[in-house]
C-alpha cells in the first residue's frame, strides 16, 4: 500500500479495496523494534497504536515511552510494563492483521495502582488510555491480552533487582545504589553483564563488535589479533588476508576494498612529493611521462579538488640515506582499466631518465562559503 500503483490491500485491510495513501487505517503486521518492548510474548505489531502514534519510531520518542519505564521503577504494579507495551506496540493478529487490545482489567489495574504515584510528582496518567475502550475478558467475539503470570516484568532496557523491582539498565553498575536491595551494584564486570571488556579503558562492548572492522575500544583492542596472515600477506580492515603484491594495484581484493585505501598521499615536505603505497612499500613517482591530467587525478583521489599544479623535483641521490624507490607511469595508462592512480603506475627495471620526481600543489574545492548579501542603494 505504499505506492500509487493501486495495488490491492492485503486481505486484512478492507478486502480488495484500492490503496489510498490517505487511508491510515490500512495497517499491516510488522516486527517489533521498540527496544522497550522486545521481550513480549508476541513479536509483531501494527499501527496506529492505542496512543495515536503512527509508527514505532514515533512511539520510541513519545512522552509515554519515557513515562512508563520511569514509572516501572516505582514498583507500583508488576504488569505495568506489559500493559504499557500492549498500548505502545499492540499485538498484531497475523491472520486478521488487526490489533489485539489489552483487557480492560489489565488497564484498570495499571491505572489504579500507578496513577496515584504519578500524582505525587504532579504528572498525569496518559490521556489516551481510557480503559473503557478496551474489552472485558471473556466478552463475546472479542479477544484481549492479559499477562502471563511468568511474563518478564522488566523490559530489556531494565535490570531486574533481586527484590523484583525494575531499574533502568543504564543505572546498573553506575556506582549508585538504585535497587532497594543494592543488587544493581553487584557483579559489575563486563563479563557478568554478558559483554566484553576493552583492556585499556575497561569499557564494555558487545561480543558482536569484536573484529567487525569498526574500532570500539579507545585503543582499538577489539580489532587486534583478529586474523593470522602469512608473511606475504597483509590484513584488510575487515581482517581478511590479501597478498602483498595485490595491495594498491587499482583493483579491489579485500571485500571491503580496504586494500585500495590510502594508496596515494603527499609528503609533509615542501614541495609536497607524491607518495604511492604499492605492493606494501612506499614509492615516489618518476616525472618521465607524467602529465597534468595525472596531476588532476592524483589531487582528486586525495579529496583535494581537481585543480593541480605539477612541480618536478630532483630524485634523491643514489647512496644517500633514506633513498626511496620510484614508480613509472604505465605506457598504456590511458587505456588501462583502472581509474585510480595506483593502477596506472608500475615498477620498471630501468632508471628514471629525467632524475626528477613528481611533487604536486593541489587546490581544494571551494566549500562552506555563502554568497555575500547584495547591497542595494537606498
Amino acid at each position: 500500500c505504499i505506492s500509487t500503483s493501486h495495488q490491492p490491500c492485503s486481505p486484512g485491510c478492507y478486502g480488495n479495496a484500492s490503496c489510498d495513501p490517505r487511508n491510515v487505517n490500512c495497517s499491516r503486521c510488522e516486527p517489533i523494534s521498540l527496544e522497550l518492548c522486545m521481550n513480549l510474548p508476541y513479536n509483531s505489531t501494527s499501527f496506529p497504536n492505542y496512543l495515536g502514534h503512527h509508527s514505532q519510531k514515533e512511539s520510541s520518542v513519545s512522552w509515554e515511552s519515557s513515562l512508563f519505564p520511569a514509572l516501572v521503577q516505582t514498583n507500583c504494579y508488576k504488569y505495568l510494563m506489559f500493559f504499557a507495551c500492549t498500548i505502545l506496540v499492540p499485538k498484531c493478529d497475523p491472520v486478521t492483521q488487526q490489533k489485539v487490545p489489552p483487557c480492560r482489567s489489565l488497564c484498570r489495574s495499571s491505572k489504579e495502582r500507578c496513577e496515584s504515584v504519578l500524582g505525587i510528582v504532579g504528572l498525569q496518567w496518559p490521556e489516551d488510555t481510557d480503559c473503557a475502550q478496551f474489552p472485558e475478558e471473556g466478552q463475546a467475539n472479542t479477544t484481549c491480552l492479559l499477562p502471563d503470570p511468568d511474563v518478564d516484568e522488566c523490559s530489556p532496557s531494565h535490570f531486574k533487582c533481586r527484590s523484583g523491582r525494575c531499574v533502568l539498565a543504564s543505572k546498573r553498575c553506575n556506582g549508585h545504589m538504585d535497587c532497594d536491595d543494592d543488587s544493581d551494584e553487584e557483579h559489575c564486570g563486563c563479563k557478568e553483564r554478558g559483554l566484553w571488556e576493552c583492556p585499556g579503558n575497561k569499557a564494555c562492548i558487545k561480543h558482536s563488535m569484536i573484529c567487525d572492522g569498526f574500532p570500539d575500544c579507545s585503543q582499538l583492542e577489539d580489532e587486534k589479533n583478529c586474523s593470522v596472515c602469512n608473511d606475504n600477506e597483509l590484513e584488510c580492515n575487515n581482517h581478511e588476508c590479501v597478498h602483498r603484491t595485490l595491495w594498491c594495484d587499482g583493483r579491489k581484493h579485500c571485500s571491503d576494498s580496504s586494500d585500495e585505501w590510502n594508496c596515494v598521499s603527499l609528503s609533509n615536505s615542501t614541495p609536497s612529493v607524491l607518495m604511492v603505497y604499492k605492493t606494501a612499500s612506499e614509492y615516489q613517482v618518476c616525472a618521465d611521462e607524467w602529465n597534468s591530467q595525472l596531476s588532476g587525478l592524483a589531487c582528486r583521489q586525495m579529496g583535494l579538488g581537481v585543480s593541480a599544479a605539477t612541480v618536478e623535483t630532483v630524485l634523491d641521490e643514489p647512496g644517500q640515506p633514506g633513498r626511496r624507490r620510484w614508480l613509472h607511469v604505465h605506457p598504456d595508462w590511458s587505456q588501462r582499466n583502472s581509474s585510480a592512480l595506483q593502477g596506472l603506475l608500475e615498477k620498471r627495471g630501468h632508471s628514471c631518465h629525467s632524475r626528477k620526481k613528481v611533487a604536486l600543489r593541489c587546490t581544494k574545492d571551494e566549500c562552506g562559503r555563502r554568497p555575500a548579501a547584495r547591497m542595494v542603494k537606498r
Binding site: W63, G368, R370
Partner: protein, 240 residues
C-alpha cells in the same frame, strides 16, 4: 524547525530537499560536493531504492520553484552498514547524484570538518529545514540558532536512550529552538574562524518536538564519520 525564522533565499546554499513522489519533500539533505550529498539513514527506511528519489537544490519556497533551482536524480544511496534503527545509531548515508551540480550562489557545497574537529559545548550553530514548526509545515526554509550541548549533559535529558559518540546534541533544555519532523537529514552548521561554514551534524532524532516533553535535538555527529564519508566517495568515484 521550532522557534526559528524564515531564512533569506541563498543563505544556506548547501541545504537540499530529498523528495519522492507523490509525497514531495521527505527529508532534508546537505550538499558536500558537486556530485555528493549527505542525509540520515532513517530517511530511507522502507524506500531504499535510489530510483524513487530526487534531490532539489537552490530553493527556498518548496511550493514555488525558483529560477535558481537545480534537480538531480539519485544514482546510488550508501547507508552506513552499522545503522541501527532501534536506537538510531550510525544514522548517516551518502547520496550519489546522477550528475554534477552547477555551483552557483544558490547551490554550493558546505565543508566537512577535519578528523577530530568537534564544536565545543556552548558554541552557537545553525540548523535549517522545511520540517514541522509546531503548528504547521512551512513552505519556506526555516533557520534556528542552537547551542551545542555536551554528550553527558545530553544523556541526562534522554534517560531511556543511549547517547553515543556517533551523536551530537544541540538546542535548549526548554526546547525553544529545535529541529522537528521533516528536518531529518538537514544540516547543523557552525561558522569557522575564517568565515567558512562546516557541517557538524545531520538532524536525526529527539523528543516529539511539539509535545510537552522537550529538550535538545540529537544530530548525527559528522566528525565521527568524516573518514567513512571520504572513503565512500573515493570507492564510488574510482569504481573500487
Amino acid at each position: 524547525i521550532l522557534g526559528g525564522r524564515t531564512s533569506r533565499p541563498g543563505r544556506w546554499p548547501w541545504q537540499c530537499s530529498l523528495q519522492s513522489d507523490p509525497s514531495g519533500h521527505i527529508c532534508g539533505c546537505v550538499l558536500i560536493g558537486r556530485k555528493w550529498a549527505l542525509t540520515v539513514a532513517h530517511c530511507f527506511e522502507g524506500r531504499e531504492s535510489a530510483d524513487v528519489w530526487k534531490v532539489v537544490m537552490g530553493i527556498n519556497n518548496l511550493d514555488h520553484p525558483s529560477p535558481f533551482m537545480q534537480t538531480r536524480y539519485v544514482k546510488s544511496i550508501i547507508v552506513h552498514s552499522r545503522y541501527n534503527r532501534a536506537v538510531v545509531d550510525y544514522d548517516i548515508s551518502v547520496i550519489e547524484l546522477d550528475s554534477e551540480i552547477e555551483v552557483t550562489s544558490y547551490v554550493r557545497p558546505v565543508c566537512l570538518p577535519d578528523r577530530g574537529q568537534v564544536p565545543k559545548p556552548d558554541t552557537y550553530c545553525y540548523i535549517t529545514g522545511w520540517g514541522h514548526m509546531g503548528n504547521r509545515m512551512p513552505f519556506k526554509l526555516q533557520e534556528g540558532e542552537v547551542r551545542i550541548i555536551s554528550l553527558s549533559q545530553c544523556q541526562s535529558y534522554f534517560d531511556m536512550k543511549t547517547i553515543t559518540s556517533r551523536m551530537l546534541c544541540a538546542g535548549y533544555e526548554a526546547g525553544t529552538i529545535d529541529s522537528c519532523m521533516g528536518d531529518s537529514g538537514g544540516p547543523l552548521v557552525c561558522r569557522e574562524g575564517d568565515g567558512r561554514w562546516s557541517l557538524y551534524g545531520l538532524t536525526s532524532w529527539g523528543s516529539v518536538c511539539f509535545s510537552k516533553v522537550l529538550g535538545p535535538g540529537v544530530y548525527a555527529n559528522v566528525t565521527h564519520f568524516t573518514e567513512w564519508i571520504e572513503r565512500q566517495i573515493y570507492l564510488r568515484t574510482f569504481n573500487l
